[in-house]
């Protein structure tokens, strides 16, 4: 049997990852320093072809013929488990019906994400891209080992052996064997370090239709999410958090809480007061009965309106320069026409369907088992270890299916892991602790997409060509103060605030992009497509405004600026063609088409939205999308991700916003922060650009273009520019 090598506990790595665990203000704070040099090499495009083939880490073949692919990433719905298994199974020539998957343990030496350097984790739409060569090599090596075993057993040359759909054959001697029959002998073969990879023309599963590996378990109730973990003797914990970010516990009266039936304990931890009970309902009832006085002296007590006003005031002053070319101000001064625009963006909650939760169980030997939707394994393992006072080899992660994430589970401080661990510590590890954040905890718990403002100014010459572009952005940096700061932040400029703007593919003769890092106490985080959630709206709506000011067709105008971006141009052309874009066709009153095109995470997406505008109301009828993600590993999963991106992002275009009143979050559940519903879902058509380029990701890139395509369609339908999100529909006048 080919099996996974026993993972070597990465004890030495603790030094590399733990900059130091210190006790500050009663809270165990774990500082990380990641090696920026290593990360830079990885981010610059590591030479993946030089990777050793590691079949033992990624595939097990059992005597019953099942092929189990080890998945080093989190699957939060994006279908990467199916994609990763497809890549390996294709090179292995496995029978898809026998392919199973299992989530990898935490082991950054075997399972790091090459885009994250030495960290195992999932994000930035990197799962398929960083695994492409690794899993092809693993599959090809395992295939070669099966062939070698058969050749040895049959005493025939390996070159005469063929493999198809889980069966190894030697035609001349009419012999064949199933994978399961050869597995044990294959495991004894040397691992070929340079196995021959298929020519793309030989792919059988890649580019075709394979059923998702999770469709059955997710339709009969058997799929286990971390909220479904039930360990013997476990207690469920619900935590009372400060209603204001940065607030701490001043005093607790837990008498009434302890009297609630089912409540077994109440403990104060760095992040609040945890009520432990025999079931979730009792824990929630116990929390309602708690009387906690909070110390708000270090808390954020402003309202979101006040924070926004501060942002806008700071935008009047020069910021840090993120990118510049020529004299943008001078070029604009001499222009025939000057356009200005401001775009504001609210805080957004991820609001994944499965609220945050984790379970930690202490084993008899003092080590720990963690059950969660692990998304930054290396950091989560280290944070749990530090909070429990053990080395990382004493912490085993068991990754479960995640009920969505949209970025929230990948928190650089592993917040809810630390909270679970602190409850285990406070209760002495007596019983496994199952931490449950209610929907209200999840939505009001911070780590939002930052509140951002963009201010733009551009000049056009007499022919409508852009002369210069000035662009100033303010938002709280996601990266400053995290383990990733040294990798992502250069001279104070956080790339995740300006990505998609300061690196625009549009040919601008002169430009200046500036950024301010907002100072505020609201925790912020990446939210499906990160900076692109706002930069694409600012860029793609403003370019549309310039096109109209120039009297040009918006598609042709963009193509004229995209000479240096052939893949984005081709994607835009395909979307326009499939949507029936016709600049000569007169717009129907109250109904319009809008276009947007944007690159993110190395993938190219263009969308054309068809919108009907009425007084105070917008109906998105249809969205036609084109995507270029390089080789399309699972075309149907790619289509599903773009359809889903539309459904996910639509409510953020139409209505979602998190607001604070005197520091207290006002939207706490789906009634006040309402996701898109069935009746609002437009028809989505997805077209994939054929490509032989290395595959990139599609978990996020469908999101950024939806808002600007809708905004631009509303302009086409009504002549009104709605720039800020969510769209200010109150003042919209329809046909």
């Amino acid at each position: 049997m080919l099996k996974v090598r026993q993972a070597t506990p990465p004890v030495p790595s603790r030094r590399a990852f733990l900059g130091g665990a210190t006790v500050a203000a009663g809270a165990l704070v774990v500082g990380f320093t990641l090696d920026p040099a290593k990360f830079a090499r990885a981010a610059a495009g590591p030479d993946l072809s030089a990777l050793p083939a590691a079949p033992n880490a990624f595939v097990r073949i059992a005597a019953d013929d099942t092929v189990t692919v080890v998945i080093k990433h989190l699957d939060m719905g994006q279908g990467n488990t199916t994609g990763l298994a497809t890549i390996l199974a294709d090179e292995l020539d496995a029978d898809w019906a026998t392919v199973r998957t299992t989530f990898a343990p935490a082991d950054a030496t075997l399972y790091n994400n090459f885009a994250f350097g030495p960290v195992q984790g999932t994000g930035g739409s990197t799962a398929i891209a960083n695994s492409w060569v690794q899993l092809r090599k693993a599959g090809a090596a395992a295939r070669a080992m099966l062939v070698a075993a058969a050749a040895e057993s049959w005493a025939v040359p390996a070159s005469e052996i063929t493999v198809e759909s889980g069966t190894v054959r030697h035609a001349a001697s009419n012999r064949q064997a199933r994978f399961g029959e050869l597995a044990e002998a294959a495991a004894a073969q040397p691992v070929p370090q340079e196995p021959r990879l298929k020519d793309p023309s030989q792919f059988k599963l890649i580019g075709g239709k394979v059923p998702r590996v999770d469709s059955v378990a997710k339709t009969d109730g058997t799929a286990i999410y971390s909220l479904d973990i039930r360990r013997p003797g476990q207690v469920t914990a619900v935590v009372a958090h400060s209603p204001r970010f940065g607030g701490t516990v001043k005093s607790v009266d837990d008498k009434a809480a302890r009297a609630v039936a089912g409540v077994v304990d109440v403990v104060t931890i760095p992040t609040g007061v945890a009520v432990l009970a025999r079931d979730t309902w009792s824990a929630m009832k116990g929390r309602e009965a708690l009387r906690v006085t909070w110390d708000d002296s270090a808390a954020e007590t402003r309202s979101s309106d006040a924070i926004l006003a501060d942002h806008r005031k700071r935008l009047d002053t020069p910021g840090l320069v993120a990118a510049k070319k020529g004299d943008a101000a001078g070029a604009i001064a001499g222009s025939a026409k000057v356009l200005e625009a401001e775009f504001t963006f609210p805080y957004l909650a991820h609001a994944a369907m499965e609220p945050l939760n984790a379970t930690i169980e202490r084993a008899a030997d003092g080590s720990y088992d963690v059950f969660a939707g692990c998304q930054l394994h290396t950091i989560e393992q280290a944070v749990v270890a530090a909070n429990l006072g053990v080395t990382t080899d004493k912490v085993r992660l068991h990754t479960q299916w995640a009920g969505g994430s949209f970025g929230r589970r990948a928190t650089p401080g592993a917040d809810y892991f630390a909270e679970t661990a602190s409850i285990v510590r406070a209760t002495g590890g007596k019983a496994p602790v199952h931490l449950v954040w209610t929907r209200e905890d999840d939505m009001a718990g911070g780590f939002y997409r930052p509140m951002v403002v963009h201010r733009l100014r551009a000049g056009l010459d007499a022919k409508g060509a852009i002369t210069g572009w000035e662009h100033r952005t303010i938002g709280k940096s996601i990266m400053i103060g995290t383990a990733f700061e040294t990798m992502i932040v250069k001279d104070g400029v956080d790339a995740t605030t300006v990505e998609g703007a300061s690196d625009t593919p549009y040919a601008l003769p002169a430009y200046r992009f500036e950024v301010h890092n907002a100072r505020e106490g609201v925790p912020v985080l990446w939210w499906r497509s990160v900076g692109h959630t706002h930069t694409a709206q600012a860029m793609e709506v403003f370019v549309d405004e310039l096109a109209h000011a120039a009297g040009a067709d918006p598609v042709a105008y963009r193509l004229g600026l995209l000479g240096g971006a052939p893949r984005l141009s081709a994607t835009l052309r395909l979307a326009a063609e499939k949507a029936g874009w016709d600049p000569k066709k007169a717009a129907e009153k109250g109904r319009g088409l809008g276009v947007a095109a944007h690159e993110s995470f190395g993938s190219y997406v263009a969308m054309v939205a068809d919108v009907t505008a009425e007084d105070g109301k917008v109906k998105v009828n249809r969205v036609v999308a084109a995507v270029d993600v390089g080789v399309a590993v699972n075309p149907d999963v790619i289509r599903a991700q773009v359809e889903g991106a539309v459904g996910f992002a639509l409510s953020s275009v139409l209505r979602n916003r998190i607001t604070l009143r005197d520091g207290v979050v006002q939207e706490r559940n789906f009634d006040a922060y309402e996701p898109t519903r069935m009746s609002e879902m437009p028809v989505v058509e997805v077209h994939i650009v054929p490509s032989t380029a290395a595959p990139t990701g599609i978990g996020e890139p469908g999101v950024p273009v939806l808002a600007p395509s809708i905004s631009n369609a509303i302009f086409a339908a009504t002549g009104q520019r709605l720039r800020s999100l969510p769209l200010d529909l109150a003042g919209l006048k329809g046909a």
Partner: protein, 151 residues
């Protein structure tokens, strides 16, 4: 002690009659296919059938159930359930899948009452079920497909 009949099996539950069925199923009976999403009947992730009718388990107190038969995603069966599951799998509807137990229970409820639902019927029956991954287009197609296969 309360008696509950879940998927044809009688159980006794030692819990407050005020406890929502959702938590009795998940925490006392280890039937975790029924999901918690919001607790206020805004998302439909906890949809189960009470005597064949879709209800939100987060709003159904166990003390109020009496002899009614509870059916969850783990136990729902029959021609309509088979057709719905088969359509869901054939179209690979699921993404994260967390809401899909509730979606499927609502869809089975719809198709049990209405053999050939229109798009407007689907909007009406399914608007209470949130899918944050945005799989609505495929849910709609799967319901139509299941209806076709049952015709």
């Amino acid at each position: 002690m309360l008696k509950l009949t879940v998927n044809g099996v009688a159980h006794t539950v030692d819990a407050d009659p005020e406890m929502p069925l959702l938590w009795a199923l998940r925490d006392h009976l280890n039937q975790t296919g029924t999901k918690y999403g919001c607790g206020i009947a805004q998302c439909g992730a906890c949809t189960v059938h009470l005597d064949g009718q879709p209800v939100r388990a987060c709003q159904t107190r166990i003390g109020d159930i009496g002899a009614a038969k509870i059916t969850t995603i783990e136990g729902v069966s029959g021609k309509v359930a088979d057709a719905v599951r088969s359509a869901w799998r054939g179209l690979d509807v699921v993404q994260c899948g967390y809401c899909q137990s509730g979606q499927i229970m609502s869809a089975i409820g719809l198709l049990s009452e209405n053999a050939k639902p229109t798009d407007a019927d689907i909007d009406g029956a399914m608007d209470g079920n949130v899918c944050r991954c945005g799989t609505y287009q495929r849910i709609r197609a799967a319901i139509h497909e299941a209806a076709r296969s049952l015709a």
